[in-house]
């Protein structure tokens, strides 16, 4: 592998590699240390607890559902941001980025006002359909969506921007209407960007704790359950569940990533 191109100094590359290596170590060491301290006996014991299993499943499922919802709601906005100009576009962009800047406990509290028992949507929806956002997966997905949909919109937007607008135009001249062009040209070509966004949304959703715990303490997602174990039983048991959850979510993430990027890429090659 070439580590250096002409014009870069050896010294600079060396120093930056050392700094970069330290950063990687900073990320990996705590995780590896947590894995290293586990004993098979504790892991088996924790894995056998029904609450632990259901919390992990709930997290995986709710994050998956969130990603789908983020795709359905985020892709149209991403397309508009990539392809059109309109007054107030800067404001719209700022609103899309807003969730990243809000503390997640604040998100949870704000969502309570809308989706809670007496919330302006939560109340009426409950009265009409009987569905409640509190105490169900509904609240979990709402909380996850709020904190993670930004990633889908922004990455899908980059995906759409990377599609040559002439391809859409040529498709129009070939007889395709606007919806056909979107479905047959734009969407397939922006696919990688959209999938990247969905992956980030999925990953962010699975890790969400603050907004979820305020909106919906029960049923417990894995991060909530890990916190619960930490308070009730201590570090050994909570770290065992943490390892189980981390392993499960990484596995799902890798499988999804492989499935999605395994499609034919614009170059005609299979990844």
């Amino acid at each position: 592998m070439r580590t250096q191109t002409l014009g870069q100094s050896r010294g600079l590359v060396f120093v930056f590699s050392v700094v970069g290596g330290l950063l990687l170590a900073f990320i990996l060491v705590p995780l590896l240390r947590m894995y290293a301290t586990q004993t098979p006996a504790t892991l088996m014991q924790i894995a056998a607890i029904e609450d632990v299993q259901s919390a992990i499943w709930l997290s995986l499922e709710a994050a998956f559902l969130t990603a789908l919802l983020a795709g359905a709601l985020g892709v149209p906005l991403a397309y508009l941001l990539a392809r059109t100009t309109f007054p107030g576009k800067g404001v719209v962009e700022a609103v899309v980025d807003l969730p990243l800047a809000i503390p997640h406990t604040v998100v949870g509290i704000a969502l309570l006002f809308v989706f809670g028992r007496t919330g302006i949507i939560g109340g009426p929806v409950n009265a009409v359909t009987g569905f409640q956002f509190w105490g169900t997966w509904g609240g979990i997905v709402i909380a996850m969506l709020f904190v993670s949909v930004t990633y889908t919109v922004n990455a899908a937007r980059v995906g759409f921007e990377s599609v040559d607008a002439r391809l859409e135009r040529v498709a129009r001249t070939l007889g395709a209407g606007p919806w056909s062009v979107f479905g047959r040209v734009t969407l397939p070509l922006a696919w990688r960007g959209i999938v990247t966004g969905l992956m980030l949304t999925y990953a962010r959703s699975i890790s969400e704790f603050g907004a979820v715990i305020i909106l919906t303490y029960y049923p417990m997602t894995a991060p909530v359950k890990i916190y619960d174990l930490f308070l009730q039983s201590g570090l050994d048991e909570s770290s065992a569940m943490a390892v189980l959850f981390l392993t499960a979510s990484l596995a799902v993430f890798i499988i999804l990533r492989h499935l999605s990027y395994g499609r034919v890429t614009p170059g005609g090659r299979r990844m």
């Binding site: 040559d164 135009r169 498709a171 129009r172 040209v185 070509l189 005609g268």
Partner: protein
Amino acid sequence: MSDSTLTVERVSLRIGTFALQDISFSLAPGQVYGILGPSGAGKSVLLETIAGFYWPDHGRILIEGRDVTRAAPEARRVGFMFQDYALFPHLTVAQNVKFGLQFRRSRPRPTEHSQVQDLLARLGLEQIAERHPSNLSGGEKQRVALARALAMEPAFFLFDEPLSALDARTRDSLREELRTLLRELGVPAIYVTHDQTEALVLADRLAVIRDGVLLQEGTPSEVFGAPVDEFVARFVGVETIIAGRVLCTHDGVATVQVTPERRIEAVDHGAVRSPSVLVCIRPEDVALNRPPAKDSAGANQFPGRVVGGEPLGPMLKVKLDCGFPLTAFVTKRTYLDLKLAPGAEVVAHIEAAAVHLIGQP
């Protein structure tokens, strides 16, 4: 109604600070129509307006007699050929060609496959039908784009500088191939370019536009031989443009005083009304000889001196001082035979019929 393939009728359009102004022309069946102009002249906007991506503020666009001024692009049957051809990168050659077929409601599905095969065969693409565009040569891309557009049986093609991003050699060979293909297919086309050679090689008829205004329209020999103003003259390759004054006209030959000592004779077609004119001489119409002049009594013999020269592809461009500046194209053979290094004495000769006059207000 009219039997032309496309009629653009007094089309005006404003986009931001740019405007197309009162553009009119028509494309006859089987014709290749060149639109020549510098970058920013509005050539692409004009094509995109014809294709339906912009709606004109004024004027009409008729395709085969049908008013399509407000029709969607997909309803116009216009084969748009973009620069680099804009093939769908996620589809194979065969899928690219098939793309336009699937939106034709009138056609039964079972014939789609054989139509694709026909088109692939017609343009010699069978061998590469399963390849993706990223693995194609420039010539292959060009043929795929033509096949893809032909699938929806276009009324005509629009070419938006398809060759301008290519290197000179590829461009020459693709231009030749395109000319042959256009003749074979018999589908009329509008071809936009800033390259006068491309326009000359490909077009049956030409328009020159600048700043959204159509300056001149005619056959290539009309536009190249008799430009209407100085801009068009320079743009179509006239190198020598000198201001002068018409002294008299005898038997259709005007005598123009260009300097106190020099007079140039020009065949006058009666188009010039004012005494004040611009004398236009194309560099390829200037013949150089060694002094003394073969026929010193003949008209338009100008003794002069070489002041500079530069190689220009297969030809050399020689700049002369004949009392007025004059530019000539010569072959390398002539350059060596006449020893045309700067300082050399020569006699330049120009046929009166090759001198074009532009009337000045």
